[in-house]
């Protein structure tokens, strides 16, 4: 059942730009660092002088854009995925099929979280590639690159659950997109936010200086928000 729903949802996102954005997001985040390091002559040398650990400094530079791209990317992807049914009023037809509404929601969530997982893997690959190209030292810190690529993904799962719910229940897609803009403003000032706000978590900062806390919080709160969103979606009337 769920396999068929998933197959249907992967089919539906074809040629809608979701895959393109999945690639474009991590590519853009890393491309910005290429601009940062290489576009102005002498800038690379100046940046390398600023720290003892060139790789770590480079990874921190990359990860200053990762949360921003994630927050907005989640808002855009969820809205695009919900628009497939929203634009043509196909929710009615979809839930008229002999499938549970919870399954419909689960399939959408699974597709989107897979897309984001692919984006994180691509972020790992692009970060590694540019790091090699910039010649940041012989010892490539694969574990650190993985941390900076995959931890924000897990930490942003609550936002994915929240946005998927907001996008599927909103008739006007301006509402979830505006929520994304507010989230983006929060994320860009994450150093000022209290630790309990999910918009801070993708930045991997917290008062204990332990990124793993954000990963655990992300998975836990993500599961709660996902369940709440799914239950609400299931009991709502389809317009």
């Amino acid at each position: 059942m769920i396999v068929k729903l998933l197959a249907a949802d992967f089919l539906k996102i074809k040629r809608k730009g979701l895959w393109l954005l999945t690639v474009l997001g991590p590519f853009g985040v890393v491309l910005l660092q290429w601009f940062n390091y290489e576009l102005v002559p002498g800038r690379r040398e100046w940046l390398l002088q600023r720290s003892d650990d060139d790789w770590l400094f480079y990874l921190q530079n990359v990860s200053s854009f990762t949360p921003l791209a994630l927050v907005l990317g989640i808002a855009i992807l969820t809205s695009l995925a919900a628009s497939i049914e929203n634009e043509t009023n196909a929710w009615k037809q979809l839930v008229a099929l002999p499938v549970p509404k919870m399954g419909v929601f689960l399939a959408k969530f699974t597709v989107l979280s897979s897309l984001l997982a692919v984006a994180s893997a691509l972020l790992f690959f692009f970060t590694w590639l540019l790091g090699i190209y910039l010649d940041l030292g012989s010892a490539t810190p694969y574990a650190e690159i993985a941390k900076f690529s995959f931890y924000p993904y897990f930490a942003s799962l609550p936002l994915l659950a929240l946005h998927l719910w907001a996008a599927t229940v909103s008739n006007n897609q301006g509402i979830p997109i505006s929520l994304g803009v507010v989230g983006f403003l929060f994320a860009s000032f994450s150093f000022k936010l209290p630790d309990w706000l999910p918009w801070k978590w993708p930045s991997l900062q917290n008062q204990w200086d332990e990124p793993l806390v954000n990963v655990v919080l992300g998975i836990g709160a993500g599961a709660i928000l996902y369940t709440a969103g799914m239950l609400d979606f299931a009991r709502r009337d389809v317009k």
Binding site: K16, G17, L21, L24, G28, L32, F35, N36, L39, V40, F65, L68, A69, L72, A75, I76, L77, S79, L80, S83, E87, N172, Q173, G174, I175, I177, S178, V181, V182, F184, L185, S188, F189, K192
Partner: protein, 247 residues
């Protein structure tokens, strides 16, 4: 033309959400300004206005304003994208040029309203925080007007994209792809002035030595970067709309 403007505003007004979208930026600016603590920076209350303006400009002009153009343009075309609205609108005795102009005019006046509400947000937060010294009205007018002008090309591109794509998120994705690099671009003396999406920030950021009585950036920059990209996006959008097939 007047009736077209009226009908565009009516359609926008009826979606209700547009008021939330208009209030969003000024409200966030207001609460952000209230949380700022100038004492921590060792500043006295005499400079509170300058302090508030400098800090909120970053949030408002660099992050919010460029993204807001995408939301507003999307809302303005949403009605027509539903249930064949373009066909119905263009079946009326109106020319496509005028429809495009009316939509664009509504957009720029909505942004002007947002800019004025931002001014109000700064003023209110300053008064609440007990600012001494005169309200820097001239500086702010420059900033408000400059930021407004700087959104003209962005609004034109977003209107074009919103007409092109049926979904709300797709034109917004274009907006995001151009806005995120602006965060990096404003740090560069070479590329910042040339990047249209960095202009709202550069034209709103209060600086003393621009050698320009009207804006905070040189006239050449206003005319070539903001003006040039405006011409490109506005006429690109207009030409697209004139040939648009309505399904």
């Amino acid at each position: 033309m007047i009736s077209l403007l009226q009908s565009e505003w009516f359609k926008l007004r009826k979606s209700k959400f547009v008021f939330a979208a208009i209030l969003l930026g000024p409200l966030i600016t207001f609460f952000y300004a209230l949380t700022l603590q100038p004492d921590k920076f060792g500043l006295e209350k005499t400079f509170l206005w300058e302090f508030l303006i400098a800090f909120t400009t970053l949030l408002y002009a660099l992050y919010f304003l460029p993204l807001a153009t995408g939301i507003l343009a999307g809302l303005l075309c949403r009605y027509e994208h539903q249930n064949g609205g373009w066909k119905q609108l263009l079946a009326l005795p109106v020319t496509r040029n005028r429809v495009f102009l009316a939509k664009y005019a509504i957009l720029i006046f909505t942004v002007l309203a947002i800019q004025l509400l931002y001014l109000l947000a700064i003023w209110t937060s300053g008064v609440l925080k007990g600012a001494e010294g005169p309200f820097p009205v001239m500086l702010l007018w420059k900033s408000i007007l400059g930021g407004w002008i700087a959104t003209f090309p962005l609004l034109a591109l977003q209107l074009w994209m919103s007409m092109l794509f049926k979904s709300f998120a797709a034109p917004f994705a274009v907006n995001v792809a151009f806005t995120l690099p602006a965060i990096l671009a404003v740090n560069s003396e070479k590329f910042g002035p040339l990047y249209p999406w960095a202009q709202p920030f550069l034209m709103m950021y209060v600086s003393k030595d621009a050698g320009n009585d009207t804006f905070f950036v040189p006239w050449e920059q206003v005319l070539t970067v903001a003006g040039g990209s405006f011409l490109l996006f506005f006429f690109g959008g207009l030409l697209y709309f004139r040939r648009k097939e309505n399904i």
